[in-house]
Structure formats: structure tokens, C-alpha cells
């Protein structure tokens, strides 16, 4: 067992974990943060995307021990750590609701976390920027059009 200290969604947590434990397992199984989901076994789908020190990563492809000493934000803490009042959605979550950016919703936590990262780096992306920036996130339902629309909407209007 290895002792880790991680800040998750604004709270400091300390745990003894097996070094082989994946960050996504730690979030779901140890902390009960099941908002972050696992969609594949190959690090391809992006459903498990969280922020590590403010940048998007696939949490199925990071060890929990590698997150020790760092800050993790999941879909569950996105609104609150972004300074939004209790019960309020983050503007990107709001945009996905507004533009019908989901069907089954399985890919949505990862889509939203990646979209937030993309918009942090490029606040006014073109449609092409969004499609390229979201290429690590797969969706089996929507055909992507409304996801792209949602991200552009969050950026301040379609272009």
C-alpha cells in the first residue's frame, strides 16, 4: 500500500492505495464519485476525463499514486470549484442541456470536462477547433453535431 494525498473537487483526501489502482477506480470505488465513468478498456473513449492540476486527462490512464500531491476536478465538482453556487450548473453543463448535447448521456461527463479544458485554452474556438479539440472523446449516440453546437454555444454563440 502507498499513502496518497490528493485534493479532489476542492477537498483534501488521504488514503492508502494499491499502487496499481487507476485514478478512475479511486474516484469511483474509494471516493464514490461515480459521475466519472469508464467507457472502454483502451484509453480511447474519453468518458473518464477529469482535470489534473487544471488540465484534462483520461483518468483510466493515470495511476492514483501519480495524482498524489496534485489537484483533481471531476464532473461532480466542476460547478462548485468554478465558483458557482450550490445547485447551479457550470455554463458548459448548461449549454449541453440547452443544445440537447446528449442522448444516453454516457459520454457526457467526459465531453463536458474536455470542453471546459478546450475553452480554457481557446475561449473562442471555430467549429473546426472544437471538432479537433474533442477528438479524444467518443459518442455512440449523437453523431457529434449537438455536442459541437453545445461547446460553441458555451463559448458565446455559434459561428
Amino acid at each position: 500500500m502507498t499513502r496518497i494525498e490528493v485534493t479532489v473537487d476542492g477537498s483534501k483526501v488521504t488514503d492508502d492505495v494499491e499502487p496499481r489502482m487507476l485514478l478512475v477506480q479511486y474516484l469511483r470505488e474509494t471516493l464514490g464519485k461515480t459521475g466519472t465513468v469508464v467507457g472502454c478498456d483502451t484509453s480511447n473513449c474519453g468518458a473518464c476525463t477529469v482535470h489534473l492540476d487544471g488540465r484534462s486527462v483520461k483518468s483510466c490512464n493515470v495511476l492514483a499514486v501519480q495524482a498524489s500531491g496534485h489537484e483533481v476536478t471531476t464532473i461532480e465538482g466542476l460547478a462548485a470549484t468554478g465558483g458557482h453556487a450550490d445547485g447551479q450548473l457550470h455554463p458548459v453543463q448548461e449549454a449541453f442541456r440547452e443544445c440537447h448535447g446528449l442522448q444516453c448521456g454516457f459520454c457526457t461527463p467526459g465531453m463536458i470536462m474536455q470542453a471546459v479544458d478546450l475553452l480554457n485554452e481557446n475561449p473562442s474556438p471555430t467549429e473546426e477547433d472544437v471538432r479537433l479539440g474533442m477528438e479524444g472523446n467518443l459518442c455512440r449516440c449523437t453523431g457529434y453535431h449537438n455536442i459541437v453546437k453545445s461547446v460553441l454555444h458555451a463559448a458565446g454563440g455559434a459561428r
Binding site: E18, Q66, G136
Partner: protein, 284 residues
């Protein structure tokens, strides 16, 4: 699936990391960004007893100016290489290759050194690094040595890094003012190329003065297309002249046949992509 159990070591200096490798020998595996290693461990294609994490060693991260070269620390992430001003000014070809390597999430974690040490023949960094004549600084128990680019890639997933050694940094000679382009042919998003071509050119007026051409996935290692480079030197930047030189791209290569394409298809692609890459690099 999750990896088989292992012991985790997190050194904070290069010496500590080398000591851990010396202690555990071939039972140890180094982890950098983990973007290639963790999928392998999760599929249980490898089951090391000990994993040595380079993530806590600040000295391995960052890019510096060193006279006639820029030096890229092994643990610098793909994202940081992609956005670095020194890279854009002196080795633009690397930024072009990083731009379409994997996806944003993988680029935030995966490292420049990890990708080169992994030596996947379809990896996007080998060909550009080779084309720019880079050198590899490798450290071991008895000090460090410099390996020429042409000696670094030994075979399929195999490099000159010996057991107990670590890749520390990569020295990339400055190609200031050179035009650059990385032409990558893929079937689906965020994946490894079926074939890709890396080109840097120095033009004088409408003429190609010098060219450097690297090929991805045209053999078990990245390759330099010397005959194309020679054929381009002194030629005008025209579609016809470039097409003629690019036709030599597959010379001496031994591309694989797999689900994505047969060897002869890859040879054809090499010529087409080389023409496109040279014209784009030369600004035509």
C-alpha cells in the same frame, strides 16, 4: 482490466531513479506519462515487479536554449513541446508533429522522451527527430553518453537505451527559419499514422537549398529519406520538380502489411505524402 500488483518507487532526482533501476534490474519498469505503458500493463502484456515513476523529477522537464541547439527534457509533455516558443522558432517541425499526435488528454500526460523511448514504428516523433539530426542524452550508473539519432532507433519498440539507463534529454540542432510540415495519413481520429512524412526545408528565393525528410511507419524504425533530400537540393519549388524527387521516398524502405494497408500501398502513400509535405513546408 487493471495491472498486476507492483511496488511503486517515486524518486525525486535522476540519481535516485538510476539507483532504483540498478537495485531492481529487469524487474523494474520506468513510467513517464504512462500513456503507452499503462495500456500495456492493463492488458497484462507486461507485468513488472517494480514501477519507477519519473514524474517527480523536475530536472527532467522543460526546454532550454543551448547555443546551436535546443534541448528538450525527456519528461516535457507533448502539450508543452507543442506550445513552446523555442520549438516554434528553431524546430517548427516538432510542433507540427505534436499538433496531431494522439488527442488533447494524451498530450497533457504523455511525454516527449516517453514516446521516443517507446519507439513505436508508428509513433509520430521519431521521423521528425531523425530528420532534424537530433542527439539523445542517455544516463546510466557510470555517467551519461550521447547517442546519434541514426543509432538510437534499433528495431521494433527497441532503442539504444540499455537496461539500467534512462533517456534524459534530446538535443535538437536549430533549424531557424526553415519551413516545416508533418503530413500524417490516418483513417480515424486521434490515432497513429498509417504512414506519415516529416519535412523541413530551407528555401532561397524559389529554390530548395536544403531538405530533411523523415518517414513514419515505413519500416521497423523511423527512417530518413536521404535520396529524396539529395534530389530536392537545388531544385525549384514547383509541383513537377517536387513530384519527381518525392517519387524516391519509398526507396530502401520495408513497410509493414497490416489491417490498415499492404506494403505496396504504403510505398505509394510515402511518395504522395512526401510531395504534399515538401510543397507545404516550402510554402507552395
Amino acid at each position: 482490466m487493471i495491472p498486476t500488483p507492483f511496488e511503486y518507487v517515486a524518486p525525486t532526482t535522476l540519481d535516485e531513479a538510476l539507483a532504483a533501476l540498478a537495485e531492481h534490474g529487469d524487474e523494474a519498469k520506468v513510467i513517464a506519462g504512462g500513456q503507452s505503458l499503462l495500456p500495456v500493463l492493463r492488458m497484462r502484456l507486461n507485468a513488472p515487479e517494480v514501477v519507477v515513476d519519473l514524474g517527480g523529477i523536475p530536472a527532467l522537464r522543460g526546454i532550454r536554449d543551448d547555443g546551436d541547439a535546443i534541448v528538450i527534457g525527456a519528461m516535457t509533455t507533448h502539450h508543452d513541446v507543442h506550445h513552446d516558443p523555442l520549438v516554434h522558432e528553431h524546430a517548427a517541425l516538432l510542433a507540427k508533429a505534436e499538433e496531431h499526435l494522439a488527442d488533447a488528454q494524451v498530450r497533457h500526460r504523455g511525454t516527449f522522451g516517453g514516446a521516443l523511448a517507446h519507439a513505436d514504428p508508428a509513433g509520430d516523433l521519431g521521423a521528425p527527430v531523425l530528420a532534424l539530426g537530433a542527439e539523445f542524452v542517455v544516463a546510466g550508473p557510470s555517467g551519461s553518453r550521447t547517442v546519434a539519432g541514426s543509432d538510437f532507433f534499433v528495431g521494433l519498440f527497441e532503442t539504444a537505451i540499455a537496461e539500467g539507463e534512462l533517456l534524459v534529454e534530446v538535443r535538437v540542432p536549430k533549424h531557424t527559419g526553415w519551413g516545416a510540415h508533418y503530413e500524417k495519413f490516418v483513417r480515424v481520429a486521434h490515432q497513429w499514422p498509417i504512414v506519415a512524412v516529416a519535412v523541413a526545408v530551407r528555401t532561397e528565393g524559389g529554390t530548395i537549398a536544403e531538405a530533411r525528410v523523415g518517414l513514419t511507419n515505413m519500416g521497423s524504425t523511423p527512417l530518413r529519406a536521404h535520396s529524396v533530400e539529395e534530389a530536392l537540393a537545388g531544385r525549384p519549388v514547383t509541383e513537377d520538380a517536387v513530384r519527381e524527387a518525392a517519387a524516391l521516398a519509398a526507396e530502401g524502405t520495408n513497410p509493414p502489411s497490416d489491417l490498415n494497408g499492404q506494403a505496396d500501398y504504403r510505398r505509394h502513400l510515402a511518395g504522395v505524402l512526401t510531395r504534399r509535405a515538401v510543397l507545404a513546408a516550402a510554402g507552395a
